[in-house]
């Protein structure tokens, strides 16, 4: 099913229905996207393209509309006023900041949720093994730690072999150590499954470490786009890493602190 299916709850009052199409080539394209809650515009004409397999990080100050953009791509904004043209691939998976596991279903049941293939369970087991949770299939979500829950959420999204993975601050609620481990895990998973990724984050270092391209959102528009070369992204002591970091912080309106 395409990401932009109708709502599952009661029928929403019909408003200005934003257009959305499934892109044949698996690319993401957003044109002149406008979204507003009430009189104030949140997104004021966003243009964005993501190539198949490309990893894009979306940076921006809190409240600038990152989640609004991601939810538009996920087709979760039925009731939000706006316009624009969005096209996304057929298979889209979403990872939220909270792991969003159904508390009444087992870990395995959460990963197989919505899978219709006959080998769904075997695939879910494999995905759980991939995120290092083999043997925890029968656990309840509340029996797992926060990091483990988020790994289940990753398994749940990747078992669908998405062409586009949308992640809204997926590691935001985790401690620093777990976050670093999750970065490594995510990189491995992405190397194996090769989806395009849009990662919303407020962490400049996370964006540099993971992304091919960093998009900074400001005042409801794409303010800057910066490319991260593999060399710069791979190590914090690489040449250009510190400069990129400084530039991004400047994009975000943060003055460098001369403390180190």
């Amino acid at each position: 099913m395409a990401a932009h299916s109708g709502g599952l709850t009661a029928v929403a009052p019909s408003g200005t229905a934003p257009s959305a199409v499934t892109s044949p080539g698996g690319t993401v394209s957003v044109r002149n996207l406008i979204r507003s809650f009430g009189p104030k515009g949140v997104l004021n004409g966003v243009d964005l393209d993501i190539a198949p397999g490309e990893f894009v990080a979306l940076l921006g100050p809190s409240g600038c509309g990152k989640s609004t953009l991601l939810r538009a791509l996920a087709g979760l904004d039925h009731d939000v006023r706006g316009s624009g043209v969005i096209s996304v691939p057929e298979r889209v998976s979403v990872v939220f900041q909270d792991s969003r596991l159904l508390p009444w279903d087992s870990v395995l049941g959460n990963v197989t949720l919505g899978l219709r293939e006959h080998d769904a369970e075997a695939r879910a087991r494999k995905a759980l093994a991939e995120v290092g949770l083999a043997g925890r299939e029968k656990s309840w979500p509340h029996e797992l730690s926060g990091g483990e829950q988020q790994r289940v959420a990753l398994a749940r999204s990747l078992v669908r072999e998405p062409q586009l993975l949308l992640a809204d601050e997926p590691f935001g609620a985790l401690d620093a150590l777990t976050r670093i481990k999750m970065h490594g895990l995510l990189q491995d998973l992405i190397a194996a499954h090769r989806p395009a990724v849009l990662l919303v984050t407020h962490d400049v270092d996370e964006a540099i470490a993971l992304a091919d391209r960093i998009v900074v959102l400001d005042s409801g528009r794409v303010a800057t786009v910066r490319t991260v070369t593999p060399e710069v992204g791979s190590a914090v002591d690489a040449a250009g890493h510190e400069a990129l970091r400084r530039d991004l912080l400047a994009d975000l309106g943060v003055e460098p602190v001369a403390s180190h």
Binding site: G7, T9, A10, F96, L113, G114
Partner: protein, 287 residues
Amino acid sequence: MSAAPVLERPAVEPHQDPALTGRPDVRPTGHRLGPGRRRRLAWLLGPSALLLLWTVSSATGLLDPRILSEPWTVVATAGELLADGRLQENLAISAQRAGLGLFFGIVVGALLALLSGLSRVGEALIDGPVQIKRAIPGLALIPLLILWFGIDETMKVLTITLGVFVPVYLQTHAGLRGIDLRYVELAQTVGLSRAAFIRKVVLPGALPGFFLGLRFAVTGAWVSLVVVEQINATSGIGYMMELARTYGQTNIIVLGLAVYGILGLISDGAVRFFERKALSWQRTLAG
């Protein structure tokens, strides 16, 4: 702050693990606010205490048998009525009425709650009338039901059904409406069909509310049963008690009350048992 004080562990419970007996077990015991672990059969304590109080006050003559029969008289009466088959007969017909009324009430209540919780049209059509029904005491409908259906079984089962479906509807509906919208979004992102959404998200999410309604419903079913059986019936525990009243047989009346009490306790226990099984994913104070 200094380190937490190390307290001797109160010897409330021995170790469950035999491999650990004899090892020192000194740990800081925080001030526990929850009620602690569940204990089996603990629910029997209250009813047993009540029974003990009844027995003691009867035995000491504190309680006049003309006001309340002694427990042993009631037991003897039960024996007699069992021997001539009247108790089983009346109990069976009462249980059948309550069971049928419960069944229909639960099905109707749960279905209406689903319809009204999952569609705006359903809510607009269903919720208002149910709230109106809720405002009318179920027993106030009995005269009308008698006019419509006579005094046969239909009327009795219907009265119970009408009493049962309201709490099931209200609690299930509340549970359903309380399902976190985040799970609804999730269901959409993983591409659940409407049927799968109902099966995987709506029903399990509404289950705690449903069980709460069920407990009200079960109690309510017995209450309605008493009333319909005492107003117009020629069989059933309530009829047996009503008949005993005309002959001044306190012992049979008390026996009837005891039977209702036991039935209520058993049925509530059964609901709670299934509730615990079905909601084992929940972490609550009840444990």
